[in-house]
């Protein structure tokens, strides 16, 4: 079974990513948004957990009604330098109050993890050719941040910057 980083720990990934033309197995599955849209009624009947993988062009506002059905939302990084999913993650967490897992999938690498975590991602399917142990170090690059994010609604200056030493 593959491993991912979840809540800054390496765990076995219990979610199976299922291609659009494959039959859905039992257990936890991740499917595409296209499939969800196409088979929505049938999928709502399904009892096993189901998560959805969103393209980074998906408009989160259009999906709000469906979010409660998804314990996992996977956001795609087709290339690590394509940063659209950072905005999607923040909107999910900060605007729409999504409490489930937000998983980074695709070109997910150590040097972006800190930004992803601050944007609301809590699970990271690090690219298969890279070490997860090494990637864990990426979360510790910085000990503070100036601006609000999904992890912190206040800027540094409103978090006791001038009362601490």
């Amino acid at each position: 079974m593959a491993h991912i980083i979840k809540n800054r720990q390496i765990i076995e990934d219990s979610w199976q990513t299922i291609a659009d033309d494959a039959e859905l197995p039992t257990g936890s599955v991740l499917i595409s948004l296209a499939r969800w849209n196409q088979e929505r009624a049938a999928l709502l009947e399904r009892s096993d957990p189901l998560g959805v993988r969103l393209p980074n062009t998906a408009n989160i506002a259009d999906l709000v009604a469906d979010l409660p059905h998804w314990p996992v939302v996977a956001l795609e990084f087709p290339k690590f330098a394509d940063g659209r999913a950072y905005s999607q993650a923040r909107l999910l967490r900060e605007r729409y109050g999504y409490q489930g897992e937000i998983r980074a999938v695709g070109d997910v690498l150590r040097d972006q993890l800190w930004f992803m975590a601050r944007s609301g991602f809590d699970a990271f399917a690090v690219r298969a050719d890279r070490s997860l142990e090494d990637a864990l170090a990426g979360f510790g690059d910085f000990s503070e941040s100036y601006q609000p994010g999904a992890d912190q609604s206040l800027p540094l200056y409103r978090r006791g910057r001038f009362t601490k030493t």
């Binding site: 940063g83 923040r90 040097d111 800190w114 930004f115 992803m116 601006q147 609000p148 994010g149």
Partner: protein, 571 residues
């Protein structure tokens, strides 16, 4: 001047450690070239023609004497003894070793400096009017807001992998000296009828291959909403800016495609959600930051000095320097002194390590230990007593930093060009030299009056050629350097993009062609008209008609090919 606290220092130190690790992993083969590229660019490191180039931020143009000495030290120890000041208040080193760049960043961190986000597809070093806090026409000091924006944009989790680079400039005076209208976002500080501070917000300006003047999307944005509004703009851009074509990826293309009205509607819709959030700027924070930018202890009787007037009468060379290189100050008895980095024979914007040390000394002696970097690639000593101008002039002259040419044809903006940059088509520095040699007589330069000559070695337009009163662009034709001349641009309040004069000219003919263009101006000008005003009155035709005499080899610009070199590292 802003002073780091524990948090600022920790973040910069952590950045050095992070980058050191990234360099080690790259050298060990654990990061590919493609993976390392954005990481190094976000620390200002380019891999260039001869060697890496490191771009260091001078946030909103402010330097202390101590910082300038560190820049000198770095030039000596890690480079070839000089640095190059750019149009966006950065300094570039052209010869560092990749392996040593983490050490350079560590040295910078010791004096509260960094190279964070000086390149890459992120929010770049925020720039400001070089006369911030000392301009007679100032409405409000932009440095306060620049520092607030610097902190908000530093390691921004959502906006570190944008479609393309993102540049913000802030002005706080009636006069735009920061080219704010050709930035991705231009912010003009102003007061409304109630006397409250706010910003006029322009979006979508930029030069490069598709020069566009920014459009106003908000006439008055209250101070409290500064960061939430910026975040809304960036969020719209991050989601909808094009990522399929590097040449179409700047926000200006998105604004143009949507139209300013629709773009504004999208920004305002986004802003409605975050207007009242943790981003709202509270007055206490503004005041805290303001407290770092209080005026130095000016002497109340500085204006009583009579020696300045005497020296001006007694020494015509000094008087010429005062006329050109000294600007008014809002405090009586004080002046702003330009340190001209426009010595003939030296690349515009270049300064040796020894000169940096000397300028740092002058700053300590004459200007409360402060120096500014300007958009026109000069330095400025912002708080000089008028009684000190004469000794300062002598001291600057001894360092070859007193060329009395600020605002003249010789005060060129010029990119490093083919000599250093892997994108360039043309040796812009050689052209600058050719122009300097041709127009070396001060009385001729003075007769031409205010003239902005901007020179770019390629279409990426680091030399801002589109907005020079005269612009020169290096183009490549079958491996040969040719030069396209444009007239009538301006980056100031009366912003315009220049018009192409006509066929490009051969490398050897640039200065000769300029001379003919300038002759038209001399013949046609009325009264004290500047070149730009004459051009606007009479148009391109008279210039075109005279420019090409004895120029049979000229070729039509449409036949010229844009650079085909990849521009992924375009500054």
């Amino acid at each position: 001047m802003y002073q780091y606290d524990h948090y600022d220092q920790t973040l910069v130190d952590e950045r050095v450690a992070q980058f050191r690790g990234q360099v080690q992993r790259y050298l060990a083969g654990e990061l590919t070239d493609d993976e390392f590229r954005p990481l190094r660019l976000m620390n200002g490191l380019y891999l260039q023609r001869h060697a890496p180039m490191l771009r260091v931020a001078i946030p909103y143009g402010l330097l202390s004497a101590r910082q300038l000495r560190t820049l000198a030290h770095i030039a000596r120890r890690y480079d070839q003894g000089y640095g190059h000041f750019t149009t966006r208040q950065n300094i570039q080193y052209n010869w560092p070793k990749l392996e040593e760049t983490p050490d350079i960043l560590a040295e910078l961190a010791q004096v509260e400096m960094h190279a964070i986000q000086t390149s890459g597809n992120c929010i770049r070093n925020v720039t400001a009017d070089h006369l911030s806090g000392v301009a007679p026409d100032e409405i409000e000091d932009p440095r306060i807001y620049c520092e607030i924006i610097r902190q908000w944009s530093t390691f921004h989790p959502e906006f570190s992998y944008l479609p393309r680079k993102f540049k913000i400039a802030v002005t706080g005076a009636a006069h735009d000296r920061a080219a704010a209208q050709v930035h991705d976002i231009g912010l003009n500080l102003l007061r409304n009828a109630q006397g409250e501070i706010g910003f006029r917000v322009l979006v979508g300006g930029g030069l490069g291959r598709t020069p566009i003047i920014g459009q106003v999307i908000r006439e008055f944005l209250p101070q409290r909403d500064l960061l939430s509004y910026l975040e809304a703009i960036l969020r719209v851009y991050n989601q909808y800016g094009r990522r399929d074509n590097i040449y179409k990826a700047r926000i200006k293309i998105l604004v143009k495609a949507l139209g300013a009205v629709e773009f504004r509607a999208q920004v305002e819709a986004e802003w409605a959600y975050i207007k009242d959030s943790g981003l709202t700027l509270d007055q206490a924070e503004v005041e805290r930051v303001r407290s770092y930018f209080t005026p130095p202890p000016y002497e109340a009787d500085a204006a009583a000095d009579s020696s300045l007037a005497q020296w001006q009468i007694g020494d015509p060379a000094f008087a010429a320097w005062v006329r050109h290189n000294v600007a008014d100050h809002k405090t009586p008895g004080y002046r702003n002194v330009f340190v001209a980095l426009k010595t003939p024979g030296v690349a515009p914007g270049d300064l040796t390590a020894d000169q940096m040390d000397a300028v740092a000394d002058f700053a300590d002696r004459y200007s409360f230990g402060q120096i500014r970097a300007t958009h026109h690639q000069n330095l400025l000593l912002p708080d000089v007593r008028q009684a000190d101008l004469y000794p300062l002039w002598n001291a600057l002259a001894a360092q070859k930093l007193a060329a009395p040419v600020i605002g003249t044809l010789a005060d060129m903006i010029c990119c490093p060009g083919l000599d250093f940059c892997s994108l360039a088509n043309a040796s812009s520095l050689a052209i600058a030299h050719q122009i300097n040699e041709k127009f070396d007589r001060l009385d001729y330069l003075y007769d031409l009056g205010e003239l902005r000559l901007n020179l770019s070695g390629c279409m990426n337009a680091c030399g801002h050629h589109h907005v020079g009163h005269i612009g020169i662009l290096g183009v490549d034709k079958k491996g040969e350097e040719w030069y396209q001349i444009s007239l009538g641009g301006s980056s100031e309040n009366d912003v315009t993009l220049g018009d192409i004069l006509g066929p490009s000219v051969a490398k050897t003919e640039v200065a000769n062609t300029l001379e003919r263009v300038l002759q038209v101006y001399i013949e046609q000008r009325q009264d004290d008209e500047r070149f730009l005003d004459t051009y606007r009155r009479i148009g391109l035709e008279p210039f075109r008609a005279s420019a090409y005499v004895n120029e049979p080899e000229a070729i039509a610009p449409r036949k010229l090919r844009a650079t085909q070199r990849p521009a992924v590292e375009a500054a």
